[in-house]
Structure formats: C-alpha cells, structure tokens
Symmetry: C2
C-alpha cells in the first residue's frame, strides 16, 4: 500500500478559482495489479485548459467530478511494475493528475528518454504545449516563411514555442505579452522581432502598434487569449489570413465577457478579409507526436529552442500557482515539483 498525496476538486469555482475550490488529501493506493505499475510523480504541469475542466459544462472533455483528482499531465518514475513494457526506473509521462503517486496500466503512457533533454521538457517544449504550437502553426494556420505572424501569450508555454518555431521558418514574428519584462525576454531570448505589452495600452493603441510592427499586415494570428488582443489583431489581418484558435485565456473565468466587443465588429472582418478561423484541440492531433519529437527533439537537445520555466515547489502549492497562471503571473512553462529527481 502506498499513500498518495493529491489535490481534488472540492467545489466548482464561480469566476476565478479560489483556494477553497481545492482540497489536499491523502489517499491509499492499492498494490499494482496484473499488468499495472506504480509511478512516483516528479513534475506536474499546470495549463490553462484545466480551468475549463473545473466547470460542469460540456466541452471537448468531461469535467473533473467534485471530489475527483484534478486533471493534469505529469512526469514520474516507475517504482513497482507488473507490466513488461514498463520497468522499474523508467521515466514516463501521462495525464496522471495532481497527485504524488499513481497506478497505471500503461494506457496513454509514453516513455521518455532522459538523454535527449531534461525530463521536465516532456511537459513543455517536447510535450503538450510544444506539439500544440507545432500543429497550430503548421497544420492549422499553414504558416509560411516570409509571412508575418502575431502570437498572443507570447512567452507562455505554447506561445514561446510558436514564436521560436515561426522564427525558424523565416517569418516576421510579433508577440503580445503582459508586462515589460516578458516583452524584453521575448525579443532578447526568444528571437521575436517585436513584442508589445498589452497591459500598457487599450485595443485601439495595440492595433496601431501592431500595424507599425507589421507594415505589410498580418498573415497569421496564433490566438491564445481572446479579449482586446483578438480585437486589435483582427483589424490588422491581411486578406486571406489564417487564425489558429488555440485558447481564450482572458475569458476563461468569465471575466471580460460582458465588456467584450459585440460580435459583429470582429465577425465582419472574417468576411471582408476572407479569413480562415480554425479552432483546434491538441488531443485530436496526438498521432503526430512521433513526427513532432523527431523534428523538434534535437532542437531542444542542442539548445536551439530556449526553455523558460516557472517552478512551484511542492504539490501543496499547485493551486496557488494555478491561480497565478490564469492571471498571467507565470513566466514561461508553469511546473510543480512534486518529488525529487530520479537517482
């Protein structure tokens, strides 16, 4: 028997999540059965999509039940195994949840090679955020070298990867981020040509700044945020532009919805500019994981792709880090260190 520390959904949030919506619990796990194994979690990933799972609303995935363990991707080490494909000491990643230990039968579990890159990158640049950036840029937006792209949440886990991959394709890359420090990081470290601080201006000013940074207009918008950034970029799109809709974090807790522009102001641009606006959910594209790993893995391993992480120490601090994440308080990929590195 193993005692697992975990964080469960105590109640559903109204608007922004609060500490009372989460509960730290200890639960006893059974011994692994036939074909099963026990994983000790080392890293937990925090991502904006988790906010959607806290609501009792039909979306692209089922909500977390009240009393259920919060959903999340994690990296861990196999401690006990009755599964021939996963041996003790293997480093693995899967949606293990906000927990210190988990039992798995291997379904949807992926082994990580620690010699390629640090194992935490399996939750970031080489994991879900990385493949999200890669699929959105290439498959959804069909971005081409020589074009101009705007990336919102430009230094976030997804955005920072979009910006770097776009730059590597030979695009003109304009970021939008919240705060002067993030913007400085985007241009100095991630290679963005420009990065605009949305906290310093309203939608109209932001639109004017984008037009200045993109004198030839915007061909591709990688959309993570909604809100005034979306409104500003819409008026800068070129005819035939593509918008990959990956997220809408500014609206996730219900804020900003009543003050958003009415639909027609944005919608008319889809018609007059002949835009293609396409939503995507990365779970539909996981069959491309192998190709993604082969293409991007070496770029992370040799340092061509920069990695920026925010680390919260200890599972008990995951709720606070998650609440900060939803307000843009993180800087780079948000991780929680749940346990020590493998020996």
């Amino acid at each position: 028997m193993t005692d697992a520390t975990c964080i469960t959904l105590a109640s559903r949030p109204h608007g922004a999540p609060m500490a009372e919506n989460f509960k730290l619990e200890t639960r006893s796990l059974p011994e692994p059965g036939e074909g099963e194994f026990l994983v000790r979690i080392i890293w937990l990933s925090l991502d904006p999509y988790m906010r959607g799972r806290m609501d009792d609303v039909k979306s692209y995935a089922d909500p977390v039940a009240i009393g259920g363990i919060m959903e999340g991707g994690a990296v861990g080490e196999v401690m006990v195994s009755n599964n021939a494909k996963f041996g003790v000491g293997d480093i693995v990643t899967a949606q293990f949840g906000w927990t210190s230990h988990a039992i798995s039968d291997g379904t949807n579990v992926r082994k990580i090679d620690p010699s390629v890159a640090p194992i935490a990158t399996a939750l970031g640049v080489l994991g879900m955020p990385g493949i999200t950036a890669w699929v959105g840029l290439n498959e959804i937006a069909e971005a081409q070298g020589g074009e101009t792209i705007v990336v919102s949440a430009a230094t976030g886990a997804v955005g920072s990867m979009v910006g770097q991959l776009a730059k590597a394709k030979g695009m003109r890359v304009i970021g939008v981020a919240g705060g002067a420090d993030k913007c400085a990081f985007a241009t100095a470290e991630l290679g963005y040509d420009h990065c605009l601080d949305h906290r310093a201006m309203d939608a109209k000013a932001l639109s004017a700044e984008i037009k200045q940074a993109a004198p030839g207009g915007v061909d591709v918008y990688f959309e993570n945020v909604g809100g005034k950034t979306l409104e500003a970029v819409m008026s800068c799109m070129n005819t035939g532009g593509r918008i990959a809709v990956c997220g809408a974090i500014s609206w996730y807790s219900g804020k900003g919805i009543d003050t958003a522009q009415p639909l027609p102001a944005v919608w008319r641009n889809i018609l007059t500019r002949r835009l293609r606006v396409q939503g995507f959910i990365i779970f539909d594209h996981f069959h491309l994981m192998g190709q993604f790993q082969r293409e991007v893995g070496p770029l992370v391993g040799n340092g061509a792709i920069k990695v920026k992480e925010s680390v919260a120490e200890g599972l008990e601090n995951a709720p606070e880090a998650f609440m900060q994440l939803l307000q843009g308080g993180n800087f780079g990929k948000q991780l929680v260190r749940v346990g020590p590195d493998p020996t």
Copy 2:
C-alpha cells in the same frame, strides 16, 4: 449620342438607406469608340453587397463615389458595336451598374447563350448568386453527402441555390427564413427538409428548433445573415463543423450591432467544437465560372433547379426594391426590369 437614365449615389446612408440617398438622372453617353460597344440594359440585379459599397469604408472593393452610378450586375443587348468579339444583338452580362445604357470595351463582359435558360438567370442561379452558392458549398465548406447543413436567408438568391445544390448532394438541409410563406416555399418547392421562421422566435428557441430538425447536429452552416441566426446555429454545430461566411445582411445597415451577443459567447464555440470559419468573396473565385456553368447550367435548363424571382418594374423603382431587399421584403432573386426583352 444616347441618353442613359441612371441612378447615382446622392449621399451616404446612415443606417438603412433612404430614398434621398439615391438620385435618378439622365446622362448623355458618347458614341462607342474604337473597340467599344453600346449596351441597352434589360435586367438589373439587386444584391445585399451593394449596401457595403454605399459606405465610405475600405472593404473588399472600393465604395461608390458620391455622384457615381450605383454598382450592379446587369444583362443587356448589344445595340452598336465597334468590337469584333461582340456583335449587335448579342446578349451580355457585366457590372454595368444601375443604368439603362452603358458603353463597354468588353472587359469582364460575358456573352450569354439565350438557348440554355432565360437570360435573367445570368443574374441569379447561373450568375453571381449561383456561383456564390456553389463555391461556398463545395470549395469553402467542403460539404459532403450525408451531412447536415443549415442555410440562412434560405429562400434568397444565394440561399435558395445552396439549399437545392445541397439537397442534390444528398445532404439533410435545414433552412432559416423570415416568414411562414418563405418557409412553406422552401420545403414545398426548393426541397428543404425543414425551414424555420426566425421572425417567430428568439435565438434560444431557434436553437432548440434547429436541434430538433438536426438530431445529429449541424456539420455545415452557410452563413448569410449574422444576428440571432448565427448565435442560434453556433450552439448546434458538430465538432469539426465548417461555416462558410458569405454575408451578414442583418448587420449591414448597422442595426442589431449593439444588441448582438458579446463576442466570447460565439467565439468559444470555434475553439471547443474545432470549427473552421471561413469568409469568402465570390470575386476571388470567378475563374471557376466555366466549370460552374457546365455543371449547373443543364440543371437550370431542364428545370431540376427551381428559379424564384421578384421583379421590380422600371429602373426608377430600383431604390425602393433595394431598400425592401435589405429588410427581407423580397422573395427569391430580386431583379429590376430596365428594358424590354430582346426582339
């Protein structure tokens, strides 16, 4: 010298166009020069896009200038010709404008074969509305047999063609139109499986009716109107659905914009349902006119495609008919008879 009766833009409308925005004038045309010919207009087409040209706003085409002849497609007969490619008596179609006579050098003029179908169909089912329907359905929405489609402005010039082409592909076809008479026509004559009267209900009720008519959800939405119909259909779309954005007539004169839903309510569906929303302007697709004529011409000629027209008599009545059109007062393709049939 020929005196042409024409209708010019006297002033730009604020909101819905009014009679005072138009001016009936007589202008003298010069004799046709080298390579030119004189056309006597028989039929003028009235279409919602013309409302956009009355505003001094950059859109996909230049606005009509104050004092300029209103833009419009027309069919006419060549009366005098100095152009070897167009002979006296030829029936031709082009953007001749709201006028009784025009001089042309043949640029963007297309000859019509009167033996295929009545010449007025060159402005409807075999003209711009027809190819708009055909391109939107096949190229933009990539509609497939067996799928379910919703068509707004279901009995309009474009919508009635979308519905009939969709039915011919083996789709489940649900129309939305304004008024019980239009809905009855849609199901009895155009072959729609269902047609819902948006004037009889609010967005929520409309959404419920669509769900009842489309128990398997909606795969394709052919969008002509914006407003509450768009809001209602969004909540019925299936994962992976496509929306061909062809128009937004309910918003064209500025009405309904302040009372429209804020953007996020519609936008979030693009993400969670992985929709592809694509605007298109038919002028980008005119290179497909030959293929369209070959495929659809015979269906019009043999009566498989039904033709429904509203005819205003006399160019002087074009403004009133156009104002009615923008309010949904027409029923089928809106034409103006400008001159007698060819002898």
